[in-house]
Amino acid sequence: MMPQALRRVLPQILTLAAVVMLVTLVFPTFLSISVSDGRLVGPVIDILKRGAPIGLLAIGMTLVIASRGIDLSVGTVMAICGAVAATAIVNGWGLGPALLLALAAGLAAGLWNGFLVAVIGIQPIVATLILMTAGRGIAQLITEGRILTFSHPGLAFLGSGSLFGIPVPALLWLAAAIAVTLLMRRTALGLLIEAIGVNRRASALAGVNARVLLIAVYMASGLCAAVAGLIATADIRGADANNAGLWLELDAILAVVIGGNSLMGGRFSIAASVLGALIIQTIDTGILLAGFPSEYNLVLKAALVIIILILQSPRLAADWQLWRRSRSGLSGSHAAATPKPKESLR
């Protein structure tokens, strides 16, 4: 069991190690960690903290993508939930209600998406596009177009506090990843979602309640986005409806893809997606630390992502095996028998 799980995420671990080595080359003290005021400080800790929103979004996105859907609205849902929490705090309703309202807003957004996809039957990319575009307007209505600044230490703790020396955002995404993985793999839930992703009709005929499960999957994604939105808002002590989570849905989808999950649904790995998110964040932070002019940021990121995706391409891996075998003089029948993952899904 364990070696198999490890083998699944091995490409992501190797990629992360390679990216870390690359960043260390241009920024030698990258791996140094020191303790200041009882909290760990260093670039690696920054990445664990900064990667929280992408990591959380990637967890929810993995489930949605496994069900053969996609959720484009998560960045916007972050903005809505942040705006809700900040408004509640500014109006003096207290920390508990603020958090509950924000999480409820995320669940409601997920319910809306799930309803459109599972009940009305709109294609996921279109259904979630509606909230992606409309949601930022909703967030701006809540904050009245301003950056809503607050100074509540309890809410700020979610973004910049630390427990046992580790930043709270890092603990939150780690806890979420472990909890969702256990929920999916210790119960049959994960298997059922994969079944829907492979063939919704067949799974429904086999007795899976696809409609309810699909709605639940989008609600889980909304909940992850809500936590991500709380962290982003708490981090800057203000709800920035225009910019919170802007384009982050694309980074989350990218994290899931780098995690080796197929956009066609089916088998998924939360751990691999979260590693994908860490890879993206390491690239982002690495580029900032390297001190290149900012014109190069996006080009460098794109180049690294393309290299990673090419190296992970299943076709390339199959061709590489074929080439190696033909060189070592084995007969062609072995090569033909090599499994080609994902080919069957095309």
Binding site: G42, E144, I147, S160, D235, D240, N242, L289, G291, P293
Partner: protein, 317 residues
């Protein structure tokens, strides 16, 4: 509404021919994409009210076709002048010609257009290079001949405020070899990016101990950076000097708390100078210059930041 307006105009003409009759001005605003824009709208309405001008306001929701439609409707209503904050620079020729044929003066607010400058009366705006220059001069005067390593949070890569504010600052510190920009990176004009990029600056510069000052192209990035500096255990405003541009309410709060040192105002009151120019034009046909530059005023901790905060926070920033 329209009937009321007509009656009022007729009554005004009948009663006070030649005296200060209520002028009607149409204002085509881009939208309300930022707090600054909202404040500009609020101030334009205030200025019109103070001068007894009847302002017809139209929000274009970031769309040029809405602005063109609004201008055509202002022309049809026969307003006395049109204020236009153009969303893009190109494509205004025909509608500006229509206004000119109707002999209605057009004043551009805050942004420029590519059309020939005889199609509009004047343009009111801020000089972005000058803003950067004022920020740079403040730093030059504040540090004297001490060594100063500066980090810079730039605006969105390739945007004109980012390019011009960077150039203006560099012009101001030129010839002062003790001041050096050691790191420069975009923070996309947002608070979150400002904080994230500042964290990487602090990591890269010996935990922030090697940084003497931060220059941020807008206040929002500075506010984010201030939090990053605090979390790194340093004292913003003292250990690291902070100068930024825009003068939004939150930076005055930070200055009142001693966390920020200076900000250069991008005034949202573009309408005031515009109405002044229009009043002179209406009175005796005085032609204003083709570009009216608004003041880029420097505010420091000595300029009653708390009072400024109170004055600004109601403007819709």
């Amino acid at each position: 509404m329209k009937l009321n307006g007509l009656l009022a105009t007729a009554a005004a003409l009948a009663l006070t021919a030649g005296a200060a009759s209520a002028q009607t001005v149409g204002f085509s605003q881009i939208g309300s994409e930022s707090g600054w824009r909202a404040a500009e709208t609020t101030l334009t309405k205030q200025q019109a009210e103070e001068r007894g001008i009847d302002l017809k306001f139209s929000d274009a929701q970031q769309k040029q076709e809405n602005q063109i439609a609004a201008i055509r409707s202002f022309v049809a209503q026969g307003v006395d002048a049109i204020l236009l904050a153009p969303v893009v620079a190109t494509g205004w020729d025909s509608v500006l010609e229509e206004a000119q044929e109707a002999e209605i003066p057009v004043v551009l607010l805050d942004r420029q257009v590519d059309s020939s400058d005889d199609l509009y009366l004047t343009a009111v705006g801020s000089d972005l290079v000058h803003e950067g220059n004022v920020a740079g001069q403040w730093l030059v005067e504040t540090v004297g001949d001490k060594e100063c390593r500066v980090v810079e949070l730039q605006g969105t890569t390739g945007s004109s405020p980012a390019i011009d504010r960077a150039n203006g600052f560099r012009q101001a510190i030129e010839g002062h070899d003790n001041i050096e920009i050691v790191r420069s990176q975009t923070g996309d004009f947002t608070r979150a990016q400002g904080k994230e990029v500042m964290e990487s600056f602090l990591q890269a510069e010996n935990g922030g101990k090697d940084i003497c000052a931060l220059y941020a192209h807008n206040d929002d990035m500075a506010v984010g950076a201030i939090q990053a500096i605090k979390e790194a255990g340093l004292n913003p405003g003292e250990d690291i000097l902070i100068v930024s541009i825009d003068a939004v309410p939150d930076i005055f709060q930070a200055m009142a708390d001693g966390d920020a040192n200076a900000t250069v105002e991008l005034t949202p009151n573009m309408a005031g100078p515009a109405f002044d120019a229009l009043a002179a034009y209406w009175a005796d046909g005085t032609m204003p210059p083709k570009f009216i530059q608004t003041e880029s005023k420097l505010y420091t901790q000595a300029d009653d930041p708390m009072g400024q905060y109170e004055a600004k926070k109601g403007l819709g920033y």
